[in-house]
Symmetry: C2
Subunit: 307 residues, 2 copies
């Protein structure tokens, strides 16, 4: 049985933002308080940490496993959780349905809120996306963030916040003082693109292309000594890899760069990175599929140089 | 003798922002501290107050006269001044050169910083614009804000901050967490428009058009009982008016609206508005000149109704 749950937001429950980072910043600005412990995933997106660091809230990291954030590991007195159930950054880990239910149940018992960053949910070409926490939430505990900057083009900076009406009203006031509003003609153009169905068609093409790239990527990686350390069960646009234990991915990045291959060294995703840190992320969202195999080959050569 | 002083900013001294409100928000976020008294103009732009209200800084209003902010009236222990030397909002008052020098001298003696919002400086068609505080500043005490949203189109949301390199670096970091960056294709398009000279040509046409509108406006107002309470010596795109003392401009706005004329009642520009508040602002930046006279006539009729 495929579960398809959709949350139909009313206009008063939506705020358009300058990308999803702006949505996160607004949400944290409203919800983070000195007496509210915030929890983020580790490994996780470095700017979740940085956004909390600039807020008033104390924060703590909770390790993610291959099913994402484990609700059982949340510390006592958690008041706010920033989660990426569709795809953890950087591992791609997807939170299964049961764990989503458990997280929401725990939120009710312990009385905390959840900021759900539905990062790259469009990139689900191997399996249908699971219902967002927001669509399962019956108590208004989930604040949902999304972006069109990834799926349309990175310079667009159009994101959105979906939450209860009072939260959206507060975020709208904060946004007005921060920047007034995202450029209106970009909002209008994006709205037309969506309303005319082009966005849905675009996402279908994007999924097909990402699937081709992922097949190339997995096939090329199979001929290397890099191990898959994490990947999205439904596809995604990146893989999380581990090189040889003794090689730090910063060094691998430097040697790769000299050969024209750019990777994301993994240390930035950890509060306390392993040393050396063998992990790194390879995104293929903007790499044509015919460049993937030669790139991976160069990266293996860069790795060989480091021995 | 015409004084023309220009500040040539290096790239490291400029940050592009999502409109000038975003530049103000970033600057206040960095400079406002609980132990630094901030000063704003009264009457003044309501969102200067609102931005400071959301910051950590104590703030106080200082009355503006027809020459803008009077440096002699700044309270002791002023640490930050938000000033609009080109055109006070809403009176249009322009700060003469001597007062600009005095303000900078006072800033040096008392050791405070100045945020200069160079609102509508392009709209100087009756007299050349005076040198910005930033161009007179020899001590790096001025943080300069500007916008292309007024002169190009309101939905553009492209502004800028000009300040010392460390301040710009801090603002860039804050901007990254707040919203990453303004949409890149808008930045690129605006840069092309400027580089190819279209912006300069556009501003010349804009000035000619604003001058026509101002002549219409002044002529039409001469046939009413509304008195000019403030206007920019170099032109501007709005006039600050006073109706009969006993009529509150909120009531005038309501009666005007029913006749299809929208005005800005003046109370929002004061910390402590007079009651009744006879002041109101009329902007003509988006009113075709042939609609000005009929609109003013309708507004006089609305005023007559209120007796």
């Amino acid at each position: 049985m495929t579960v398809t749950l959709v949350y139909h937001a009313r206009p008063e429950e939506v705020l358009i933002t300058v990308g999803s980072q702006n949505a996160l910043f607004l949400a944290i600005g409203i919800l983070a308080k000195p007496d509210r412990l915030a929890v983020i995933e580790e490994p996780g997106y470095p700017d979740f940490v940085e956004t909390l660091r600039r807020s008033d809230a104390p924060w703590r990291c909770v390790p993610v496993d291959r099913d994402g954030l484990d609700p059982a590991k949340l510390p006592d007195r958690t008041r706010l959780v920033v989660a990426t159930p569709s795809h953890n950054i950087p591992t791609g880990a997807t939170m299964p349905l049961q764990r989503r239910m458990d997280l929401l149940a725990r939120a009710e018992v312990d009385d905390f809120l959840i900021i759900e960053d539905d990062y790259d949910y469009e990139m689900s070409y191997l399996a249908p996306p699971l219902p967002a926490l927001k669509s399962l939430d019956r108590q208004g505990r989930v604040i949902y963030l999304g972006s069109f900057s990834k799926s349309l083009f990175p310079g667009l900076r159009i994101g959105y916040l979906v939450a209860g009406e009072p939260m959206i009203a507060a975020a709208r006031d904060a946004r007005a003082i921060m920047l007034r509003h995202p450029p209106t003609h970009l909002q209008r153009t994006t709205a037309h693109f969506l309303a005319l169905g082009h966005y849905d068609a675009h996402v279908v093409r994007l999924r097909e292309e990402m699937q081709r790239r992922r097949i190339e990527m997995m096939d090329a990686l199979g001929r290397t000594e890099f191990r898959i350390a994490g990947t999205a069960r439904d596809g995604g646009a990146s893989v999380w890899l581990s090189g040889p234990d003794e090689i730090d991915s910063m060094d691998l990045a430097e040697h790769g760069r000299r050969r024209g291959v750019l990777i994301e060294p993994g240390a930035v995703f950890f509060e306390t990175p392993p040393r050396p840190c063998p992990f790194f992320r390879l995104g293929y969202g903007s790499i044509p599929s015919d460049k993937i195999r030669p790139g991976i080959e160069q990266l293996q050569k860069a790795c060989d140089e480091l021995r």
